[in-house]
Amino acid sequence: MDPVTRKDTWISQSRKNRIAKWGLRVASFLVFLAVWQWYGAKPEMFAVAPPSQVFPAFYEAMLSGELPKAAAGTLYTMAVGYLLAVVVGIVVGFGIAVSVWARNTIEPIVNAAYSAPMALLIPILGVYIGLEFQGRLFLVMVWAVFVIIVNTAAGVRETPPSLMEMAQSFGLNPWSIYRKVIFPSALPYILVGLRLGAGRALRGAVTAEILMSTTNLGKFLIDAGSTFNMPKLLAGIMLVILLGLVIIQGAEYLEQRILSWRRV
C-alpha cells in the first residue's frame, strides 16, 4: 500500500472513531433524558421532576431574571474571593518554594489546611468576620487558596536548575531569572492551580450561601426546596452544574491558549 492511501485510511479511521464517540455521548444523553422523563413522570415519584417540567422552569426563571440575578450575586462573591486567593496563593506558593525556612515550617501547615474540612470554619466565622458578604468572601478564599499555593510551590520547585544556571551564565540578575526562567517554567503548574482554584471558589461560594448566609443561588435553591418546588430546584441545580462546567472549560481553554508552546 502506498503511504498516501494508508494515511487516508488512518484519518478516516479516526474520524469514524470521533463520530462513534460523539454519537455515543449524544445517544447516552438522550437515553438519560428519556429515563429521567419516564421516571420523573411517574405519579408516585414526587421528588424527581421530569425534564418536561424542569426545562420550562429553568427557562422561566432565566426570563424573569430571578435566576440570572441570583447567579450574578454568587459569581460576584466567587470572583472577588477568587482574586484574593490568586494573589495570596501565588505569593505564598513562591515563598514556600524559595525559602528553606518557609518550606520547613509553613508548608506542613499549608498541607494540613489543604486536606482539612474548611466547612469547620462556618459555625464560628460569625465570631470573627461575620456571616454576610465578608464572611462568604473569606470562605471562598480559603476554599480556593490552598490548591493554588500547593501547585505554585510545586511548579517553582520543578524549575530545572540547569536553566537557572544557564540564565546566570548569561548574566541575568535574580529578578530577571524569576521573570524569565522560573515564572514561565512554573506557569503550567500555576495555571493548573488557578483552574482547580476557580472550581473550588465556586464550590466555596455555593456552600457559603447554603450553609452560612442564605442568599443568591443558595437562597434560590433553599427556597425552591423548602416550598417543594421541584422543577425550580432542579433548574437551579442545573445552572450550578452548568456554571461549574463553563468555568472549568473556560479555564482549560485559557490554559491551552497561554501554554501554546506546549502543544507543538
Binding site: 530545572p160 540547569s162 536553566l163 544556571e165 544557564m166 540564565a167 546566570q168 551564565s169 548569561f170 548574566g171 541575568l172 540578575n173 530577571s176 524569565k180 526562567v181 514561565p184 517554567s185 506557569l187 501554554l259 508552546w261 506546549r262 507543538v264
Partner: protein, 262 residues
Amino acid sequence: MSYVEVRNISKVFQTQQENLPALENISFTMEQHGFYCLIGHSGCGKSTLLRIIDGLTEPTTGEVLISAKVTNRPGFDRGMVFQHFNLLPWRAVLGNVEFGLENRRMSKRERRERAMHYIHMVGLDGFEHYYPSQLSGGMQQRVGLARALAIEPEILLMDEPFGSLDAQTRETMQTELMRIWSIEKRTVLFVTHDIEEAIFLSDRVIVMGQRPGRIVDIIDVDFPRPRDENLRNLAGFTEMRGRVWKTLKCAASEAKASAAKR
C-alpha cells in the same frame, strides 16, 4: 601574562556517601584568540572545569584569572555553550538566541538583527519560530551555539557542542566554526570526546585523566591554518592522534589501578 590563567583549581563535591574529588590541581593558560581543546573520558570533570571558568561553580581551591583579574562570577566576556543545550522550551529559536542579549543595552531592532545574523550563521534560517521541542537534537545544539555567539563574548566555552550531530553535519560545523573563529577572533575552550576533532580544531589539546580529574598532557598542535579536510590524511595528524589516544588510555588504566587499590 596570559589572557586566561587557570591556577591550581581543585573541586571536591560533597555527597551523602563521600567526598568526591572531581578536579585536582588543574593549571593551564590560554592566550588571547587561541583555540584550546579539552579532551578526556566521560566523568573526568570537563563540564565542571568549564562551569568553574564561567563562574557558575566555585572551586574548592584555586582561582581563575582573566586579564590578570580574579573572576568568580559569570560575565558578558564569557559565553557558554551547554552540553545539554539548556534551551527555554517556551521560547522559539529566535527568543532563545535573543535571551542572552536582553541584559545588554541595545535596541530591540539591533537585538533582533544580531540574533538573525547568528541564526543564519549556524544554518537555522527559516526555523526562527520553531520551538525547541520541534527541533532535532543537533538543531537544538546549534541554537545553543548561536545564543552563545550572539553575545559576542571574548571567551567561548563550548561543552561538547557537536556531541549530538551526525558525522557529516559535524564536519560542516567544524569548518563553519573555524570560519567564524577566523573572522571574529575569540578565545575558545572546546570540550570534546573526539580526538580527531580536537586536533583538527585546536592550537593546543589539553588531555585530562580521571578520578580525580587532572591534566595528564598538553599537546601543541601547530598545523598551519587555514586547515581543511586534507589535514586528516597527513602523517603528522595520524601520529598526533595516536599520541593522544595512548595518553588517554594510560590515564584510564591508571585510574582503574588506583581505584582497585582503594
